[in-house]
């Protein structure tokens, strides 16, 4: 291979890399996952629902377990909140603190959130719980990615 061939390889290489390297591929449009929950089963009481999301991280593919609190708010809208505490990432639970039965509570550092996911001021979390992207199809709930709360 002469100098010309070497240079041609240099131009071609980046393109080949894009073609084969999964790390460089752009992510597919956000995938909505069927969480196996019917709209009719949703009440005003937040229910913890676990589901699996297929994740590709570079070359490593795995099924990651995720969870959401699904419920109907005062307006009757269905909401899916992420249970991951915005303080340091523990898992919050609904109504487990007897002093605050209608709030989400984090067992690690006593962080609290109102039912709509907004953090109670003066407790450790500095932001509201994330809200999942959601789709309702054929009476079933599909969730996408957890996104920052609209009130954040």
């Amino acid at each position: 291979m002469g100098t010309g061939g070497f240079m041609a390889a240099g131009m071609l290489m980046p393109m080949v890399r894009f073609a084969i390297d999964p790390i460089l591929k752009t992510e597919a449009a956000s995938d909505m996952v069927d969480i196996d929950m019917k709209v009719d089963d949703i009440t005003t009481e937040p229910q913890m629902k676990k589901f699996k999301v297929h994740q590709v991280d570079g070359w490593y593919e795995s099924d990651v377990e995720q969870a959401a609190f699904v419920f109907k708010n005062d307006k009757g809208d269905i909401v899916a909140l992420s249970p991951v505490c915005k303080h340091l990432g523990c898992t919050v639970d609904w109504g487990t603190n007897p002093a605050y039965p209608d709030e989400f509570f984090c067992p690690c550092h006593a962080g609290r959130y109102y039912k709509d996911g907004v953090n109670v001021e003066g407790t450790p979390p500095l932001a509201p719980l994330d809200v999942y992207e959601m789709d309702i199809k054929d009476g079933k709930v599909f969730l996408g990615k957890p996104m920052p709360h609209p009130k954040a």
């Binding site: 505490c85 340091l88 990432g89 523990c90 898992t91 984090c106 067992p107 690690c108 550092h109 450790p124």
Partner: protein
Amino acid sequence: MKWNSKEIDIYLTSKEYVDTAFITLIPISFNGEMKQSVAMGEFSTVLTNEIERQLHGRTLAFPPFTYLKSEEREKKLNRLKEWTSKLFEQGFQHLFLFTSDTEWKQFEHDLDAALIWLPVIPLEHMDGKYKAEILQEQTKQLLQIVTNKWQTES
């Protein structure tokens, strides 16, 4: 938090919130006992991972403490005590040791950490959904043990 570069960075900046250490005790043996040792290690690892995930912000899960089943008792006990005293020195206030190896039960009083013994459930013979339910039930109980300790000692 886990023992990896990304999460240790978070630990280093929020040390004051992390006062609890998790260590899994994993035996290694060969021949007839090999399979049993593997199952023990696997089971306690799965549970430690799950409870770490739920109590992520206040706990640091250390790499497992591994030992040969044939290692002399005093020797492995002293080795483990060296770990635990180092961790207390580093400011950890609550130490939890997770294991499925019954041998540690005899040493429970010699250890200054909370030893949690988990009887192995043969998960390999169960289907996915049932397995998840059992693990969830087990983690729930572990969570209670840990959070109770936090409440009574703070």
